[in-house]
Amino acid sequence: MLDYVIGKYNFWIYAVLMMIGLYAMMGKKNLVKKLIGMNIFQSAIILFYISTGVKTGGATVPILMGHAQEHGHQAIDVAGYLNPLPHVLMLTAIVVSIATTGVALAIIILIYRRYNTLEENEILKIRKDTGV
């Protein structure tokens, strides 16, 4: 049990981060807060992916060093480099996350223009009052 908790503590931490993000996305009334939660959620997922690429035992960043560059034919030690694939995927995910944030912020500005508030419950109230 102890091993279950400690040996994989980082997974626990990602889970906690994701929960925080998800809670903020759904539970917070303020729209910007929701977006902050969204960013936290997304980066927690990214963290999760990155940690799948980790290799213990002397693996370094996935950039070929030194002479290996010149002598491409010599065998490259696979265990010496981290797994590049999750990094690639997460680059894309970060981009997606910033793009989503940008669009969402633009929508927030549209909302603010119309209702002059960013609190979800107030907006709902205004909408109910105006009957739309």
Binding site: V61, I63, L91, V95, G102, L105, A106, I109, R113, N116
Partner: protein, 156 residues
């Protein structure tokens, strides 16, 4: 209904220190961004990161020197064209590979026009693609920032 006056991030800053320092820093930021794009093969970084930094340098320009000054350097139209151009470079390189007889984005076909060997052709293909990404990301970042910070480019 009184709309609370909001802070305008695109007004010219009246702080001389900020203005001067950013003036001095921007060219270096830009060259660093281009360095990041060009050296994506050897070091961390690449088109996306470089593009973001390049965009950030322009955003800095907008924040310190105001929207109109910045737009004189990078007009709305140019920005839009760069957005499209960047992505088009990427997609266009892919399409070029198709035209040269390979599959989509198969850079080894570029060897036919570059005459450098397959691995080098791929490397150059990657570079070209990164440049496209950089341009697109730069333009888009600036565009998004302008839209959000000004609420859609108000009066001149």
């Amino acid at each position: 209904m009184i709309i609370k006056s909001t802070v305008d991030m695109t007004r010219q800053s009246d702080d001389v220190i900020v203005k001067t320092l950013s003036r001095l820093l921007i060219p270096f930021i830009q060259i660093y961004a281009l360095y990041v794009i060009a050296h994506g093969h050897y070091s961390p970084g690449g088109g996306f990161q470089g593009g973001v930094i390049l965009g950030a340098s322009l955003i800095l320009l907008v924040i310190t020197y105001g929207l109109d000054n910045a737009l004189r350097r990078m007009t709305e139209r140019l920005n839009t064209i760069l957005c499209s151009l960047g992505v088009f470079i990427y997609a266009g390189i892919g399409l070029l590979c198709v035209i040269l007889g390979g599959n989509y984005l198969d850079y080894k076909e570029l060897d036919q026009i570059l005459h450098v060997g397959i691995a080098q052709a791929r490397s150059l293909g990657i570079l070209g693609v990164e440049v496209g990404v950089g341009i697109a990301v730069m333009a888009v970042m600036v565009s998004i920032f302008l839209d959000i910070a000004t609420g859609g480019l108000p009066k001149k």
